[in-house]
């Protein structure tokens, strides 16, 4: 025997009436604040303030440790020391591990133990610590669902709903959990759209960290161009892809003070993950590119793709190098741009290309994994690659065109 839905609710109603008594609720500061953060008139300024505050925190935290601390250690002590004591100068081993013997900063030396370690520990580590701290606070305070409610109307225009903001924010830390969290969206269409949009248009914390360190003056423009792309292609995909985009009804949980212990535990897990997964990939990336360089593969590839790079995208042909390592790590790829001689606008274009041309391998594997549940690997991958190809050519080419119109490219 089982009850019908109606019977069940009737029984529950009865139980509740007889056992639960609701006293009046007092108005507290917390409940007033809770109210203010979801009403658009007050909630949107509040959200802007919060996000701006976090962004400033991110910039100054990462800047403090990177510029004030790691840059000095690496440039003044580690690099000259290593260049001095490492034997076999001029050999391939020296080239791969230490890089350029004449380099005076750790960005440009480009050895595994110089640039590789510097990018991973000196730049990316402070950036992701700051980012994960912010994301954990957003999650644990209960602010995330409020943000979801606020942006709901807006996201409906591109076939998503408010809760799609969760994968978006997570992706700003790292695309991998971003893609993973698309599972919470209801339909295959939404999951597919979100996966592809975020892996193309949302740069991860590590990449943003390198951008802020290398080209702080352009980071804002790049982020803006990517965000606009997110919505433009979201709008198009919503029209093109069949499927439903349902409305969502949700409760907004009350604000809670984040538990310090929980925050600490989450941060530790993520930082441990960074040491285990990210650092080996950065070092491997540097090593691989150096080997390809020594083997002449890079020169060959640059020449092969030169026409596309110089005419369509308007960037130097050497940009092929960061695009290769970008498959391993996007942060590394952006760092490699420092070694290429180019104009400011070309730098912007190259960073945009690095962001959109292909997801990094970790994100790619997560898309494959999640694709199984969102309409089959082949369909998801095929669809993704198609969208990707179109986006790279259109959005990358459009930037070049904009540059020409503005007279800067």
């Amino acid at each position: 025997m089982k009850f019908t839905t109606e019977e069940r609710w009737k029984l529950i109603d009865r139980i509740a009436r007889e056992t639960i008594e609701y006293g009046g609720e007092e108005t507290t500061t917390k409940s007033i604040l809770a109210e203010l953060t979801v009403k658009p008139a007050t909630g949107i300024p509040f959200a802007v303030a919060i996000l701006y505050g976090f962004w400033s925190f991110f910039g100054s935290f990462a800047g403090f440790f990177t510029d004030g601390f790691f840059v000095r250690i690496f440039d003044e002590y580690w690099l000259p020391w290593l260049q001095g004591v490492f034997p076999y100068e001029g050999s391939w081993l020296y080239y791969i591990l230490v890089g350029d013997p004449e380099a005076t900063n750790s960005f440009e030396a480009f050895g595994m133990l110089t640039s590789g370690l510097f990018v991973a520990i000196g730049i990316v580590l402070p950036a992701i610590i700051a980012f994960y701290f912010i994301i954990t606070l957003l999650e644990d305070s209960g602010y995330m669902p409020r943000l979801a409610v606020l942006v709901d109307t807006f996201l409906h225009k591109i076939g998503l709903h408010g809760f799609a903001v969760v994968p978006m924010i997570l992706s700003l830390g790292c695309n991998v959990p971003g893609v993973e969290s698309t599972r919470t969206l209801e339909t295959k269409k939404q999951r597919f759209m979100m996966m592809i949009l975020l892996s193309i248009f949302i740069p991860c914390g590590a990449q943003i960290g390198v951008m802020l360190s290398l080209i702080p003056e352009y980071t804002g423009y790049i982020m803006l161009y990517l965000m606009v792309g997110f919505f433009v292609f979201g709008f198009i995909l919503n029209r093109v892809i069949p499927g439903k985009s349902p409305e969502i009804i949700t409760d907004v949980p009350p604000f809670r003070a984040p538990e310090p212990q929980n925050v600490q535990r989450k941060m530790m897990t993520k930082i441990k993950g960074f040491f285990a997964d990210a650092i080996p990939f950065v070092l491997l990336g540097v090593g691989l590119v150096n080997v390809l360089y020594l083997g002449g593969v890079i020169d060959w590839l640059s020449d092969l793709f030169a026409p596309v790079f110089t005419t369509w995208f308007g960037v130097p042909k050497e940009t092929v190098i960061p695009l290769i390592s970008g498959f391993l790590r996007k942060d590394l790829a952006v760092a490699q741009l420092s070694a290429i001689d180019m104009t400011g606008f070309q730098l912007i274009t190259s960073v945009v290309l690095i962001s959109i041309y292909f997801p990094c391998i970790a994100t790619f594997s997560m898309i494959v994994k999640e694709g199984r549940k969102s309409g089959g690997v082949l369909r998801v991958l095929g669809g993704s690659l198609l969208v990707l190809g179109v986006v790279v050519f259109l959005w990358g080419g459009l930037l070049h065109l904009l540059g020409m119109l503005l007279g800067v490219a």
Binding site: M1, K2, F3, R8, W9, L11, I12, D13, R14, I15, A16, E18, T19, I20, E21, Y22, G23, G24, E25, E26, E139, D140, G142, M144, P145, F163, V166, E180, S181, R183, T184, L185, E186, T250, D251, P253, P254, R256, E259, N262, R265, K266, T269, K373
Partner: protein
């Protein structure tokens, strides 16, 4: 012996899980972080139990991937005891799922979590009456601070299947 922890998203299920197992897993209070389920172990009264932190679900009719996972886990563990975690400030809503699980024939213990929030909001719940009418143990908990968790664990061996006809009769004669 197995225990399934079930409940709506955001009722503090993962917090209860952490308290019961002391396992090193993390929790968040926005929907959807518990998609992958987590397994831990605990000993209650000398007996070892495997505890599964089942993804949050609203009912036994799945609406998304995570809910499907939850139901698959339920179907795979017919001999388990279920701890049904409810938000003490929204008991009516949570009871729907508890009732469905009871109907499936599982022995159930109900945890009224976030009991402190209910108190703050002046919600009074007659625990004794609730226990009697449902015929299952009902334990108030505050998982985030650990309050009520050992009592909750202690009630697991006492949970029994509920006869539905009797249940209906008891409710109607309230």
């Amino acid at each position: 012996m197995k225990i399934l922890l079930m409940g709506h998203p955001n009722v503090g299920k993962s917090a209860v899980f952490n308290r019961l197992t002391g396992a090193n897993i993390t929790e968040s209070n926005y929907p959807g972080t518990t998609v992958d389920y987590t397994v831990g172990y605990t000993i209650i009264g000398g007996q070892e139990y495997e505890i599964i932190d089942v993804p949050g679900t609203f009912s036994t009719e799945p609406k998304d991937e995570a809910e499907q996972v939850a139901l698959d886990i339920l179907a795979d563990n017919e001999d388990a005891t279920v701890i049904s975690v409810l938000d003490a400030t929204k008991v009516e809503r949570g009871l729907y799922l508890s009732l469905e699980i009871i109907e499936e024939g599982f022995p159930v213990v109900i945890a009224l979590n976030m009991w402190d929030d209910a108190e703050k909001r002046n919600i009074h719940i007659d625990l004794e009456r609730l226990r009697k009418v449902l015929g299952v143990p009902v334990v108030p908990t505050v998982a985030i601070s650990g309050k009520g968790i050992s009592e909750l664990a202690g009630q697991v061996p006492r949970a029994e299947r509920v006869d539905l006809k009797e249940l209906k009769r008891r409710i109607e004669s309230l």
